[in-house]
């Protein structure tokens, strides 16, 4: 193990390390802690300039309720759910099929097609912006929930296929081979042999795509304009304009926007990290 485990060092180093950890953590999360403190302050504190010191009174419930009652935050949150969930379902399903095809079958264009998905996943969004927006306007998908999740699903299919293909490629190929010798139909091999084995990959992809799409801001701006279809990320920005100088409310709204991905991360931490670090080890 590198660096040398602190257990093997002197007591001073060991306790020093353990004492320093919480300090380092607070320093690292200082911006976040500061905004959390702000979000539970009362308006009185904000107006009197006590923005950084200890709150004179705690207004946690008042502030967070105010966000919901004084703005369209609830609508925005719900829109985000309606956009992210179908995106996850569609992109992961498509990627299971495509990843299976690219990993199991040996055909000439398998690798070029795989690289097409990989490359598509790296391109800057801006090169898609005008045509996708124009297409959405013409098909009346502009400023709708469906318009957003269809695009996200298609785009995320690139990353999901990359992930799935590599995951399936790492499975023992004998399984497929012996099923074929037994005369099992190809779709049955997919459904009964491979799909049960890729469940961890499905879990990892689901949490990742959920987080990526929930946090999307660019497409929310390109594909929506009104309140009816705006997700929470774009909503928070709108609230920022609405709650000028009400920093406690802006902070509360921003933290609320962060809750679902954070919850998702802490609940599915293992899958989340496994998904993100795929390829980081050989």
């Amino acid at each position: 193990m590198f660096p040398r485990p602190v257990e093997k060092s002197s007591a001073t180093v060991r306790y020093g390390y353990q004492a320093f950890l919480p300090f380092a953590l607070v320093l690292w999360l200082l911006p976040l802690l500061a905004i959390f403190l702000t979000s539970i302050r009362s308006a009185k504190d904000i107006n009197s300039g006590n923005v950084f010191g200890w709150p004179s009174e705690f207004a946690l419930i008042e502030n967070y309720t105010a966000v919901f009652t004084q703005s369209a935050a609830a609508q925005y949150m719900w829109n985000s759910v309606l956009i992210t969930v179908p995106t996850v379902l569609i992109s992961v399903a498509l990627a299971c099929l495509a990843g299976y095809a690219l990993a199991i079958y040996k055909f000439r264009v398998a690798l070029p097609l795989f690289f097409l998905f990989v490359a598509g996943n790296f391109i800057p969004f801006q090169i898609l912006m005008v045509p996708v927006r124009d297409m959405s306007v013409r098909t009346e998908l502009y400023d709708t929930i469906a318009g957003q999740f269809l695009f996200h699903a298609a785009f995320q299919t690139g990353f999901c296929t990359l992930f799935m293909r590599n995951f399936i490629k790492a499975l023992p190929f004998d399984l497929v081979e012996s099923a074929r010798i037994e005369g099992v139909a190809e779709w049955k091999i997919f459904w009964y042999v491979v799909l049960p084995l890729v469940r961890p990959a499905i879990a990892a992809l689901s949490v990742l795509i959920f987080t990526f799409v929930w946090n999307d801001f660019f497409w929310a701006n390109v594909l929506t304009q009104g309140e009816s279809a705006k997700p929470i990320t774009a909503g928070v920005r709108a609230l920022n304009g609405q709650f000028v100088n009400n920093w406690h409310l802006v902070s509360a709204a921003s933290l609320l926007a962060a809750v679902p991905p954070v919850a998702c991360f802490f609940l599915m931490q293992k899958h989340f990290i496994a998904g993100l670090t795929m390829g980081a080890v050989k």
């Binding site: 193990m1 590198f2 660096p3 485990p5 602190v6 060991r14 953590l25 911006p31 976040l32 905004i35 923005v51 950084f52 498509l94 099929l97 495509a98 095809a101 690219l102 079958y105 055909f107 097409l116 990989v118 598509g120 391109i123 800057p124 969004f125 801006q126 090169i127 912006m129 005008v130 045509p131 996708v132 927006r133 124009d134 297409m135 306007v137 699903a153 298609a154 785009f155 296929t161 005369g183 997919f190 946090n215 801001f217 660019f218 390109v222 774009a234 928070v236 920005r237 920022n240 902070s251 921003s254 926007a257 991905p261 954070v262 991360f265 993100l276 670090t277 390829g279 980081a280 080890v281």
Partner: protein
Amino acid sequence: MTHAVVPDTTTADRPGWLHRNKLAVAPWIFLIPALIFFAIYVVIPIFQSLWLSLYEWNGLYTADGESTATWVGFQNYVKLWDDPNFWTSLRNNVAWLILYMLAVPLGLFIALFLNQTVTGMRFYKSMFFFPFVISQVVVGLIFGWFYNPDFGVVGTVWKALFCEETTNILGNVTFACSRPAPDILSSPEWATYGIIAAGLWPQIAYCMILYLTGLNNVSADQIEAARLDGAKGWKMLWYVVVPQLKPATFIAIVVTVIGALRSFDMIAIMTQGGPFGSTNVLSFYMYEVAISEYGERYGYGSSVATVLFGIMLIFISYFLWQMYQDEKGLR
């Protein structure tokens, strides 16, 4: 592909064309949904954008559905060449690329710091990773407030260091500062660096988690062997550990390059390209030109996007080439 029929094993006694070729047909059936979807929303739009960059178009159609775009050839690119905002954006993109790369060594540094097994370590690791999970919009808002010279953290610390609190006759508290608190996001010189620093926060967390996973898989034998040979500290890190972390480093560089060139959210939230366009990057400038309050300029916007795409293509080709080498190695 019209053979959307799954090969049926019961016809094995009289093998038809489909059955004989099932291994050639099956992959296409599995691929087609993803391919169609990906083509409509990703592949075709790329070419449409490249094509549109040779037109001037406000996004409107005539009554009978014809596009009002007019062909201008390479004029959009000529205009781009004379556009100071474009050059500022490009320069800022380079600054983003270079400074964002700091996330890689800093992520490694934190990963090394956290690569211990004392009690509660899992908790610390996930808390250090926290910034990456939050939306960049929220990170942008947090830092926008953090940098505020009047009531942000920077301003408060500054007051504590350089200001003296005095109470005037009327009983109001005023501050007399030896130097005024810096307003980072309003300064054309510093704003970009302020945003990059904010962007580094989640990116470092991402690189850290990549390295933590990598460090988990560093061969203990090699470390022990090197330790017996008297290697330690920097030497051990550089000659023994870092080479083994190569896959993690590769991915960290890939995601950092992409992150740097995609930077949009933070700029949109923190400065909207200002003050005086000084924090523009190509991705934000493109958006601003294409969909602005002064009417839409799809053609010009597409030419900015094309330049950004060209820059990204250099990196994408390199990444794909690297992946291709790995694929060859597997066979």
